[in-house]
Point group: C2
Chain length 194, copies 2
DNA sequence: CTCTTGCTAGAACGCTTGTTCTAGTGCTAT
DNA sequence: ATAGCACTAGAACAAGCGTTCTAGCAAGAG
């Protein structure tokens, strides 16, 4: 027993293949066979590691969630002022896009669109979005702003808008503009009535 | 000849059924049978009016495009100042949501996520998005603002963000906040560097 | 060496889907 | 009344899907 052989090497290849195919070709559109072929893995191996395609989809979404949290938190950690930490989400997105690309927008939004409501991946996607909003609210509150929930809501709209815009325009050019609008929102100019 | 019988009554029912099912359950997830059942129409009738499911999808997207343009333009027409006409897109969205709901976000964004790149519906979706951006640029230019393309790009991000946010939160609560950010953007506060 | 274990290759299944086809029905216009 | 046409009901087919199963291979542990 113990750690025998390269346990899980196939599992990693499967997850990497699923990530690319699910993200770029769509979850429903990619069959198990395509994942297995791309991962250079036998079909039986796939079902050894994942109970079903649904389970693979859940693992795919959880992996994306973890990866995004990691780059976001790492970007936050590089900031010195609370103000910068709030805007770090847009810098993290820019970094993410430059490293991995986001031509298909947000994978979790795509999951909400593609999956039936009772699919186990849907709750993963909702939790991902809830985390973003909650963490953002926390950062805004730490910055000493009043009504942190409202501000975080507005910043979330800008964040979601960027991701959707990338899917539509196939380029990340709007990040700078959104960051400026977020900064203006924090400056309180947009907080007063009309 | 001439207008014989209720020509196209079945066609309308098919399109109405497809609209609801494609939008709420997803395009790939809804089969032709489901559309036919909901429209109370025979399968053969469906293939009399539409060459294939792909053709039905195209018609569905074009119909949504036309409907959105109509409510947007009607909202624009009710405005008196160029400034109001620019922000009218958010008012139109609010009206659209209150009348029809948008729990699934933008149907054309959903199409980009769900359809393969060579699907004829994809170009319909791209054209829909290009129209929004172009019309918005036009409205901004008519308002006498400098760099109308950049401003329209930022307003588009806010618009896309609202739609994506509705899919995630299942409520249209963020419209007011986005409209205020758009107004602030037009006020030029966010246009200056940093 | 031998046994276990994770892997491979591929056939086979049951199910769903898009599409076509065949008959039969009822309204409309002439 | 009658011919034409859009419609209905449903069977049938091919293709693709997720899933299971069988059989064999290779490498580390005893």
């Amino acid at each position: 027993m113990m750690a025998s052989r390269k346990r899980g090497a196939a599992r990693d290849r499967i997850l990497a293949a699923a990530d690319e195919l699910f993200y770029y070709d769509g979850i429903a559109a990619t069959g198990i066979d395509a994942v297995v072929d791309r991962a250079n893995v036998a079909l039986g191996s796939m079902y050894n590691h994942f109970e079903s395609k649904d389970a693979l989809v859940v693992a795919y979404l959880q992996r994306r969630d973890q990866q995004w949290r990691a780059t976001w938190e790492s970007t936050i950690a590089d900031c010195v002022t609370p103000y910068e930490r709030i805007l770090a989400i847009y810098d993290a997105l820019e970094r993410w896009v430059s490293e991995r690309g986001a031509e298909q927008g947000c994978a979790h939004v795509a999951a909400l669109v593609q999956l039936p409501p009772n699919h186990p991946g849907v709750s993963v996607a909702y939790r991902h979005k809830a985390y973003i909003r909650d963490r953002l609210t926390e950062l805004v509150r730490d910055g000493g702003y009043s009504r942190p929930g409202e501000i975080a809501g507005d910043l979330t709209v800008l964040y979601e808008g960027l991701l959707a815009n990338m899917l539509v325009t196939q380029q990340p050019s709007a990040v700078a503009g959104a960051r400026r609008m977020a900064a203006a929102r924090l400056a309180g100019r947009a907080a007063s009535a009309v």
